[in-house]
Each structure stands twice: as C-alpha cells, then as structure tokens.
C-alpha cells in the first residue's frame, strides 16, 4: 500500500517506521525544517519536507495514487484539512485523522473523514476502566462502516462469564473479534468460552453499543 502521513511528531515518526517495516511504501510529510532534518537522518527518502495541507505538496508526492492518508499533527484543524484535501482533490480512498480534542469526533465524521483516533478519549476511557466505574472502552471509530471498535473487560458477575460465544445473544450488528486472556490472544469462534477477566474486543454498530453493553453485562 502507498501511505502518506502528515505530521512528523512522535506518532508520525513511529507510524512511518512501523509501516515501512511492514513493507509498505510510506511517505512522511513534515513542514518544520529542523524537525525534518532530524527525521530525514534516520528515515531518509521516506520523509519529505512539506506542508500536507497544501495541494501542491500533495500533488508532488503523488497523493492521487495513495491508498491511505493519515493526518497526525498536533492541530485538529490541520488534520481535518489534510484529510479533506486528500479526499476531495486527490480522491484518496481512505483518510484517518488524529483528534486532539475528543469533542471533534462528530464534526470530523460529518465532514467525511473515514476514521478518527483520539488518544485523549482512549486514555480517558482507560482511566475510567481502571477506576472500574465503566468497563466498556471505545477504541476507534470506522466511519464508513458505521462501526466502533470497543474494548471490554468481562467482570466475574457478568451474565456471559463462563458461556460459549454461541450461547450469547449478541446484537445483530456486533461481532467479537478478539479475546485477550492471560496475555494470550484468541480469535474466537462460536465454540469459544468467555471467562471472567477476559478482555474482549468487539466491532459494533454505532446504535447498538448500548445493546452490546447490556448483552455483555457491562457496568454502565
């Protein structure tokens, strides 16, 4: 895949390194000359100096053949414009934006950004999870599919603890994708048994989150 990343902060840097390691074609755009210099010493050709908000820069790096554009600068408005320019001017199929203000999620969705990731919201959710007032954590939104990825820890008194997956009445628009148990991952089938303290990752339609929460016995 050809992936363009806007913003060479820590997130942009580690994303670039990881994706390169996975064999993707990656181009990181960083507009600050000093930061660019230090990034290019390590990443070489994979980083270019330029402003990902600018159509000229995006044209130069061949945004029209990019499969994904990811905007991870520290400013939400820049991330919005990077994704919108990529989508509207270069017809990029998939755009992902980092949100600094978690309240911007709704507007980004409304304005056509495919996925958003909000570290603030994730960390807040994790804190809530630790405080165990809630144990249902939204991880990521897949806008085009209208789905959320959620994480949930099964409490010992949950009605589903000890049940096989096929015995659990999940909402139609929900699927348990992964279970983490004692540092092991399990890709569940209908015959997988859910146990107390399992960490469950599920895909769920936006309007069925509440139903899934109930089905899995989440504390709300």
């Amino acid at each position: 895949m050809y992936i363009i990343i806007g913003g060479g902060g820590d997130i942009g840097y580690y994303l670039t390194k990881t994706l390169l390691g996975q064999g993707h074609e990656v181009l990181l755009l960083e507009k600050n000359p000093v930061r660019y210099q230090s990034l290019s010493e390590e990443l070489g050709q994979a980083v270019m100096r330029g402003d990902a908000c600018e159509a000229r820069t995006l044209a130069e790096v061949g945004a029209n053949r990019a499969d994904v554009v990811i905007a991870v600068t520290g400013e939400d408005e820049d991330n919005l414009v990077i994704c919108q320019m990529a989508k509207r001017r270069f017809n990029v199929g998939r755009t992902i934006a980092r949100l600094n203000n978690p309240k911007h999620e709704q507007i980004f969705q409304k304005l056509g950004i495919d996925s958003t990731v909000s570290p603030t919201r994730t960390i807040l959710s994790l804190i809530e999870l630790e405080l165990s007032s809630a144990n249902f954590v939204p991880i990521m939104t897949l806008k085009r599919a209208g789905l959320d990825i959620i994480e949930m820890r099964i409490s010992p008194d949950s009605p589903v603890a000890g049940k096989l997956l096929r015995q659990i009445n999940l909402p139609t628009n929900a699927s348990i994708a992964l279970i983490i148990r004692d540092s092991q991952h399990i890709f569940p089938t209908a015959e997988t048994r859910i146990l107390a303290d399992d960490e469950v990752y599920a895909l769920v339609g936006r309007d069925e989150e509440e139903a899934l929460r109930k089905a899995l016995g989440a504390i709300s």
Binding site: E54, D76, E77, L80, V81, Q84, R88, I107
Partner: protein
C-alpha cells in the same frame, strides 16, 4: 443581525468595529485577550477569549442564534474548520471564511463554503493600480461615515 467573528486581528477588529457601528449585535472570539485592544473604546459587542474550533467557545459566543459567522484568524485551517462547524453543526445561515492560500480557497469554494482569498484580491487590485486602473474602494473613514448616514436615515440608535 447577530454576528459572530472569529479572530480579532486587523481584519477581525475592523470588521467588528464596522458591524458594531452599524448597529449589529457582535461577538468576537480570539485566542488572546490583548487582541481586543484593537476594538474601539465604545465597542458595544461581546468579547470571548478561546479557541474558535472548540464548540463550547462558539456556543458561548452565541453561535446557536447567530445570523452570520466570519472566520478571519491568521490560520487558514482554523478558519476552514470553524466555518464548517458553523455551517454544518450550527446551521448558521451566512458563513464567510477567509483563506489566504488560493488553492485551498478554490477547493473549499467547490465544497460549498463562501470563501474570500485576500491573496488573489490583493494581487489583482495592486496589479490594476500599477496599470493605472485602480477601482474605487472606500477608505475606512468613508465606510464609517456611510454607516453613520445609513443609521441616521433608518432612525436606529447607536
């Protein structure tokens, strides 16, 4: 008319002063409270310190019952995002967005924002002036004088 202006730099402050003088209800938002020193001492509108892409700040500025919104901060992207929030979330009827970068401006014009690009307008006016064909643009005192006359004739109090 109730008008929310984002950005109290030279353009934002001038715009706020003009609209205030014309008898409109004006709220101005800026990051820095120092910026409000550009407003006239008799400016009767509201000033709000904060980030204009934060919905809470926009609500505090009264965007929910605003008739018009202008985004004139120094940042093109901030203006673009705030304008889209005003238009698509708060359904403000008239939204005007200043964008310096001509390419970005044309993209967002195509997307349905009402945009003004001072770069293109300024260059065009200067080139006309160089060719001796300067169009008649009123000066600020003339604009204020015009508004004063308008106000008197419509019998509104200032």
């Amino acid at each position: 008319m109730k008008i929310v202006i984002l950005g109290c730099g030279r353009v934002g402050a001038t715009l706020a002063n003009i609209m205030d003088q014309a008898g409109h209800k004006v709220s101005v938002i800026d990051y820095s409270s120092d910026a409000f020193q550009r407003l006239h001492s008799d400016f009767s509108g509201e000033t709000i310190v904060g980030n204009g892409v934060d919905e809470d700040i926009l609500i505090r500025a009264g965007i929910q019952n605003a008739d018009a919104f202008a985004a004139v901060t120094n940042g093109d992207n901030r203006n673009i995002m705030a304008s889209q929030i005003a238009k698509d979330i708060f359904h403000v009827k008239k939204v005007v967005c200043r964008i310096y970068d001509p390419i970005r401006e044309s993209t967002y014009r195509d997307l349905g924002l009402e945009t003004i690009c001072p770069t293109v307008i300024g260059a065009e006016m200067i080139s006309q002036a160089l060719l001796g064909k300067a169009p008649a643009i009123p000066t600020l005192p003339e604009i204020s004088a015009g508004l004063a006359t308008e106000k008197r004739s419509s019998g509104r109090e200032g």
